[in-house]
Symmetry: C2
Subunit: 209 residues, 2 copies
């Protein structure tokens, strides 16, 4: 039995407080060994039926990065069109991705058709495979922050178009697009709160049944 | 800027190694203050557009717990029917939920219709709200383990039937059912691997594009 100390729990709480969805990155490279240590946390993540359905594509060529940026910009224009007045002005002023700066960019997929785990736990809730990938991404995010790296999750993406552009095997579904690099600044307050888009409530109402 | 030490990173790696999907619980109660500390991590989780879409139902009455157990057992019978021969025998021998023992049981929902965040980041990938809930559940899972508590995620559930039985507000979608309590034993190896169902690979192939 492994016991964790109060001081570890306190520092873990600090890690959660300082983790941010980063959109402002420095362009200097990330040490590949550091990145590999962070990515190794995928292998320790919970996965339904031990299916380990996470698949990773690293976008390194200029041309594919330009394709991804164009995808984001089109999705962002479409999203902007859904707001009007003051809200539209505010939306247009937000920086919603670090895709032009982040030195590491990863498209994270779920292999929906994997045989691994023989389907255990995923019959009545097949979305559990994708949820397993999200759990792994969350662990990676925290491990990266503990190394001083920032992670930004871009969801303003047309997932079908990006999946086609990346020419991944059939059955892979895009779960998220991650920008990784050193953050330009550190905060305990979310950027959307600092920019006046939304306020973090932080509370939790629990219904009893 | 908050720097994390190598010793913290080492212990965080231990936390990931010792986190398990627990199905064998002691029945003694969990200190409510400890549980509240773990649940407070939800408020620090990343959420799309700062939508904070997580909603929690604590199952405390005998009758609703019996309903949840019956739901699991029916889903489990259906899943068993999909296997044959040796695999069916092995499936039938697995303990896939701690719902008869775990002192704390939480149904975790996503409020798909929340206005909070004004839809930012969720137009092209509306599943991002549910993914935000999964990220929060992952943080809770790790915080609980750091307190010595075990968490087991039950996905062998008919989510529509459980949602109806819990009489939650319209628009809430079940993301997962968590059993929480002190584990009967601790391991660094997943139970499904110890029981011969599947082997953890742990490796990570990364495609380059």
């Amino acid at each position: 039995m492994h016991d964790f100390s109060q001081s570890f729990r306190d520092e873990f709480a600090d890690l959660l407080k300082w983790r941010r969805d980063v959109r402002h990155f420095r362009t200097d490279p990330v040490d590949p060994a550091m990145l590999a240590r962070c990515l190794a946390t995928f292998g320790l993540a919970p996965s339904v039926g031990l299916s380990e359905p996470w698949r990773i594509v690293s976008l390194t060529s200029d041309i594919i990065r330009q394709t991804a940026i164009a995808n984001f910009e089109a999705a962002n224009q479409q999203a902007l069109a859904g707001y009007s007045g003051e809200k539209a002005k505010r939306y247009a002023g937000l920086k919603l991705s670090g895709m032009r700066q982040a030195p590491v960019q990863l498209a994270i997929f779920c292999d929906e058709g994997t045989d691994k785990g023989a389907g255990l736990g995923a019959l009545s809730m097949p979305e559990m495979r994708r949820y397993s990938v999200v759990a792994a991404m969350t662990q990676f995010w925290l491990a990266a922050r503990a190394e001083g790296l920032g992670v930004g999750w871009v969801s303003i993406i047309d997932p079908a178009a990006l999946t086609r552009a990346l020419e991944v095997p059939a059955g892979w579904a895009l779960v998220g697009y991650l920008c990784v690099g050193y953050p330009e600044e550190d905060h305990t307050t979310p950027e959307l709160e600092r920019k006046g888009w939304e306020v973090r409530a932080g509370g939790l109402d629990i219904l009893e049944r």
